[in-house]
């Protein structure tokens, strides 16, 4: 019975991030993309990135037919999502984009025919050295339902988008230098205090910093650890042996 219950449950975001963490090849990110799509029950998830030297990579759940069609017709030039997100850094609901040109309308009609969906939410990501990525969810649903969905999940989606990107940076072929995820001494101290069960106020006092400052160190550490929240960040830091308590 318990087993049956377990398989019926959607994979939790923590479990998905755990798999992402263990990925050692870009190909493994593909299955993570599929899991995120299934977790949210949306039509598609696509993660696409441009490295610092201009090379492009991607993974996602669009059909091969659509990807081929997109490349063949050079839709990169017409796609309002690209025009509206490139070199920017705020999340965009596709409804905010300009679909008024004839080319864009035709493109949208085809995208819907190929099962992309009539709604989308894209999160542009800016990494170091001009690296750039786009994390997109799309679905076939009403405006009201989509607005509710994005409002409710946008912060987690931003976290997932950045976690995917941190992994992609780590796996970037030919990358050199120390791991991106190394924490500063201050971040290690902050996370250690929390792991010891101290409250934020106690931890701040112990480190002689304001609680506000502590929160920023914790947030920055959470990002570097690719964690979903503070508890998850503490667990990850312990797992990796970054902190010892």
């Amino acid at each position: 019975m318990l087993w049956g219950f377990a398989v019926l449950m959607k994979t939790s975001l923590e479990a998905i991030l755990e798999r992402l963490e263990k990925s050692s090849a870009l190909e493994e990110m593909q299955s993570v993309a599929e899991s995120i799509r299934d977790h949210y029950g949306v039509s598609h998830l696509v993660y696409h990135w441009v490295s610092s030297n201009g090379e492009q990579y991607g993974c996602g759940t669009y059909s091969m037919e659509w990807v081929e069609r997109y490349l063949e017709k050079e839709y990169l030039r017409v796609d309002p999502v690209i025009a509206g997100c490139y070199n920017k850094f705020h999340p965009v609901d596709w409804k905010q984009l300009d679909w008024s040109s004839k080319g864009a309308r035709q493109f949208q009609k085809e995208a819907i025919e190929y099962g992309v969906g009539n709604q989308g939410y894209s999160i542009p990501i800016r990494g170091p050295n001009g690296q750039y990525a786009l994390f997109t969810l799309s679905d076939d649903t009403s405006d009201a339902d989509w607005a509710e969905f994005t409002e409710k999940n946008r912060r987690d989606l931003i976290l997932l988008a950045h976690a995917m990107n941190e992994k992609a940076l780590e796996l970037e072929p030919g990358r050199e230098g120390p791991p991106i995820t190394s924490l500063s001494p201050r971040e290690v101290e902050a996370i250690t205090c929390l792991a010891l069960g101290q409250s934020r106020a106690q931890a701040a006092q112990r480190l002689s910093i304001s609680e506000h400052t502590l929160r920023v160190y914790i947030e920055s550490a959470r990002h570097k650890l690719g964690a979903l929240n503070t508890t998850h960040a503490v667990a990850r830091a312990m797992q990796r042996g970054i902190i010892v308590v």
């Binding site: 309002p80 509206g84 070199n87 920017k88 850094f89 705020h90 999340p91 409804k95 905010q96 984009l97 300009d98 679909w99 008024s100 990501i125 800016r126 990494g127 170091p128 001009g130 946008r154 912060r155 931003i158 976290l159 988008a161 950045h162 990107n165 500063s184 001494p185 201050r186 971040e187 304001s210 506000h212 400052t213 929160r215 920023v216 160190y217 947030e219 920055s220 959470r222 990002h223 570097k224």
Partner: protein, 213 residues
């Protein structure tokens, strides 16, 4: 009115752009005495204004189309002033997160109305609210703290370098939904209008009235 404009789109607002960069020269070089570079046109710009980094400006535009006040945002996952120049203030911690943006060059025109600082803070609250951000990390003149306190948006100071005229601080802002309302109230603005300005900047598809008429 409040406008949210990426660097790559500033050319669409030449008067607003030019008066902003001139007011920045007046504030940072003449009034505050910071060591900033001002070009022959009287514009104060630095490397973080570069169109490749494409910062997002929040600008208060006056009725005559000129700059009344502004600030500049960059995501902390890319290049930022704090991580490149103020690491000693954060004990060597590079602040990076998709939920933290950097806010720099908070500037007011010399004869700006009293509510402009508050209007800019309200815009900060809008960015935080709509893009699910947690904090802004900022670089500002220590003497500005008084102004920030008055408009209901006092930052937590992480550290200050220099003294007196040369004092530059790095600090943090957080906004709650309640704080946004308070800041709006103090700036004499209502959230409906603020919402309208926000949409006007970020909704690229705006059905024209002419098409309906």
């Amino acid at each position: 009115m409040l406008r949210y404009i990426y660097a790559e789109d500033l050319h669409n607002y030449p008067l607003l752009r030019d008066t902003m960069f001139r007011d920045r020269a007046l504030q940072f070089q003449e009034r505050l005495g910071w060591e900033v570079s001002v070009d022959e046109q009287g514009f104060e710009t630095d490397q973080y204004d570069d169109v490749d980094l494409n910062p997002l400006y929040v600008i208060w535009e006056r009725a005559d189309g000129r700059h009344g006040g502004s600030m500049r945002f960059l995501p902390t996952t890319g290049r930022t002033m704090v991580n490149e120049h103020f690491l000693h203030v954060t004990d060597g911690t590079e602040i990076r997160s998709g939920l933290i943006w950097e806010c720099t060059r908070f500037c007011l025109a010399p004869d700006a109305d009293a509510n402009v600082a508050g209007a800019l803070m309200l815009a900060g609250g809008e960015l935080m609210d709509r893009f699910a951000l947690r904090h802004f990390v900022g670089v500002f003149d220590a003497r500005m703290i008084r102004i920030y306190s008055r408009i209901g948006a006092k930052p937590t100071v992480l550290g200050t370098i220099g003294e007196g005229r040369d004092a530059i601080s790095v600090g943090l802002w957080e906004f709650s939904a309640e704080a946004k309302e308070l800041v709006a109230k103090r700036a004499g603005l209502n959230l409906g209008l603020s919402d309208h300005w926000f949409r006007q900047s970020f909704d690229l598809y705006q059905p024209r009235l002419a098409a309906i008429a």
